[in-house]
């Protein structure tokens, strides 16, 4: 007996809709609008530039650098996080004694804020008293000790390692949940037929995880495009923009340089690229699903 009543339904939806439109929907065209101006965000005067900011964006080397770093981060996140998460997921869903304790311990990083993690890892990477160099010295590897976040060549890799530390447990739990859904009889049948654990993993488990892997990849993709807090806290995009991402670049343009117009341009670009990539992945996902 669903009652057909537009007005009644609207009353239920309205509070959420108003807040959502005011703070989330309206800002999207507003940003697109601001991207047409040179504006510091405070003065009543905005200078109309047409597509001037967009031309500047295309010619802006730092923008391209941020985009490249961001894409490296996307790929590295997927390629490193997902396999390790799957391995740990297998581990915690095995009948290993203590599996539950391992799971609870592994998940701890997900409880910590990006700010807390960022500062902690700054201390780990610190050249003089940092934990990592301390560990290297302990094993007599003094020659490997260095300022991990200070060297442009290393900083991005160091930051990626921290991101993996934080998010691997998250994907681990997703995989563990999916593994729990695999019918035990399938694996038992394979075992009886004499399949080695490796064979049953690659022939049974992995194909059945296909949808989960796709979901995890999408989450990792959209997440990596939005990274801000951790990187901003650890390096502020430095040294020499080596860890600059779209989000940090956008933030700095808008809120430390007070170039709100140009900042909006970068923001609109971020919006467009995550939209495009998500649609692309969803499409690819759908096509595969048809063949499967």
């Amino acid at each position: 007996m669903k009652k057909h009543n537009f007005l009644a339904a609207l009353l239920f939806v309205l509070p959420a809709l108003l807040i959502y439109c005011f703070y989330f929907v309206y800002p999207i065209p507003a940003s697109a609008y601001y991207s047409l101006f040179r504006w510091n965000g405070i003065s009543p005067q905005k200078l109309y530039l047409g597509f001037g900011n967009w031309v500047k964006l295309v010619q802006d080397e730092l923008f391209w650098k941020s985009l490249t770093n961001n894409l490296i981060l996307v790929v590295a996140s997927i390629v490193i996080q997902l396999p390790m998460a799957l391995a740990l997921g297998l581990l915690i869903s095995s009948q290993l004694r203590g599996a539950r304790l391992f799971k609870l311990l592994y998940f701890i990083p997900m409880m910590l804020s990006a700010v807390a993690i960022g500062i902690t890892w700054k201390f780990i990477y610190e050249p003089n008293f940092g934990l990592l160099n301390g560990g290297l010295r302990l094993f007599g590897l003094d020659s490997l000790a260095r300022g991990w976040l200070g060297e442009p060549r290393l900083a991005l890799a160091a930051v990626i390692a921290t991101i993996c530390w934080q998010f691997i447990p998250f994907y681990m739990v997703i995989f563990a949940a999916a593994l729990a859904g695999i019918p035990q009889e399938l694996l038992e049948a394979a075992y009886i037929d004499g399949a080695s654990p490796a064979v049953s993993f690659f022939r049974i488990t992995l194909p059945l995880l296909r949808n989960t892997i796709r979901t995890a990849a999408i989450l990792s993709l959209t997440g990596s495009l939005k990274y801000f807090g951790l990187i901003y806290v650890m390096t502020e995009g430095g040294p020499d923009h080596a860890t600059e991402l779209l989000a940090t670049y956008m933030y700095k343009q808008a809120f430390t340089g007070f170039r709100m117009g140009y900042g909006s341009t970068v923001a609109v670009f971020m919006f467009l690229i995550s939209f495009l990539l998500t649609v692309l992945v969803l499409r690819l996902g759908k096509r595969e699903a048809v063949y499967a």
Partner: protein
């Protein structure tokens, strides 16, 4: 998954890997604990591996004296108000969208759910300007609107998909008894949806507690800082006092770690459910 009957060697190897990952996960925190009790001189003179000469709480007292309690209260205030509004408005909207058939319901649904993949950065500048124009810049209220709006897509999505599966007979019984739509929502559908509401609540409590970019953009004065922003600013204050900074880090981590210790798997499931749906 792993069959018994595996050779002992592979069992040992698996344990070894499991323990190595525990060390990787936990050691950064032990490193903080161990060094947060040291004096600054002791820290810089000694080795990161050594234990403190004596367990002094001086660093913790120093951090607490920065009005840490105030920052904690700020976070609690903003997170609970936002969460309350989010859960009320979100479940009400989910009810309207999933339990009442009306024109445009599909449109509204996709309007909400479409927000799931959108990066917050596109809204940052307009939200900053709206907040200034409303005259609430640099107040805790500035955070409530964005906190609610940004988590609305996931709340509506999870709640609406849960509510859609509730059998219609339960509602019908209510309508036959003469209950109004609101009564059906409040007395029948909402109580049944408790697992979903809890999951959304847990997920968003963690997300909001750890939120950083909106406080960074919308809060300026020391007194208004939520915990994450305060922690970020401590870096300047304690730049020469690493052990004190470590104490601040641990103190800031404590509330959610306690929350986790109490909720355990329920928190994990809530977080993962929120994210997968989202």
């Amino acid at each position: 998954m792993l069959r018994s009957g595996n050779p002992v060697a592979s069992r040992v190897l698996i344990y070894l890997l499991a323990v190595i990952w525990v060390v990787i996960t936990i050691y950064p925190l032990i490193f903080l604990v161990q060094n947060s009790f040291k004096t600054s001189t002791e820290f810089f003179m000694g080795d990161v591996w050594t234990l403190p000469g004596r367990f002094s709480l001086a660093n913790y007292q120093k951090v607490w004296a920065t009005h840490f309690a105030r920052f904690l209260a700020n976070s609690l205030f903003v997170v609970s108000i936002s969460l309350l509004i989010l859960l009320l408005a979100g479940s009400s909207a989910a009810f309207g969208l999933s339990r009442i058939r009306f024109r445009l319901s599909g449109f509204f649904y996709y309007l909400f759910v479409g927000g799931l993949t959108i990066p917050v950065h596109i809204t940052l500048i307009p939200v900053y300007i709206i907040t200034r124009n409303l005259g609430i810049y640099d107040t805790l209220w500035a955070l409530v609107g964005p906190f609610v709006a940004f988590n609305m897509p996931v709340a509506v999505f999870v709640l609406a998909s849960f509510m859609a599966d509730i059998p219609a007979s339960l509602e019908e019984a209510g309508y036959i008894d003469g209950a109004s739509r609101f009564q059906v929502f409040w007395n029948i559908v909402l109580p049944i949806s408790r697992p979903a509401v809890t999951a959304v609540g847990i997920y968003n409590a963690v997300i909001l507690w750890n939120e950083f970019i909106f406080p960074l953009v919308l809060i300026n004065s020391t007194w208004k800082r939520p915990l994450t922003l305060a922690l970020w600013n401590f870096q300047g204050e304690f730049s020469a006092d690493v052990p004190a900074m470590m104490a601040a880090l641990l103190l800031s981590m404590l509330p959610l770690l306690i929350f986790y210790a109490v909720t355990k798997e329920r928190l994990i499931e809530g977080l993962v459910a929120g994210a997968i749906k989202g």
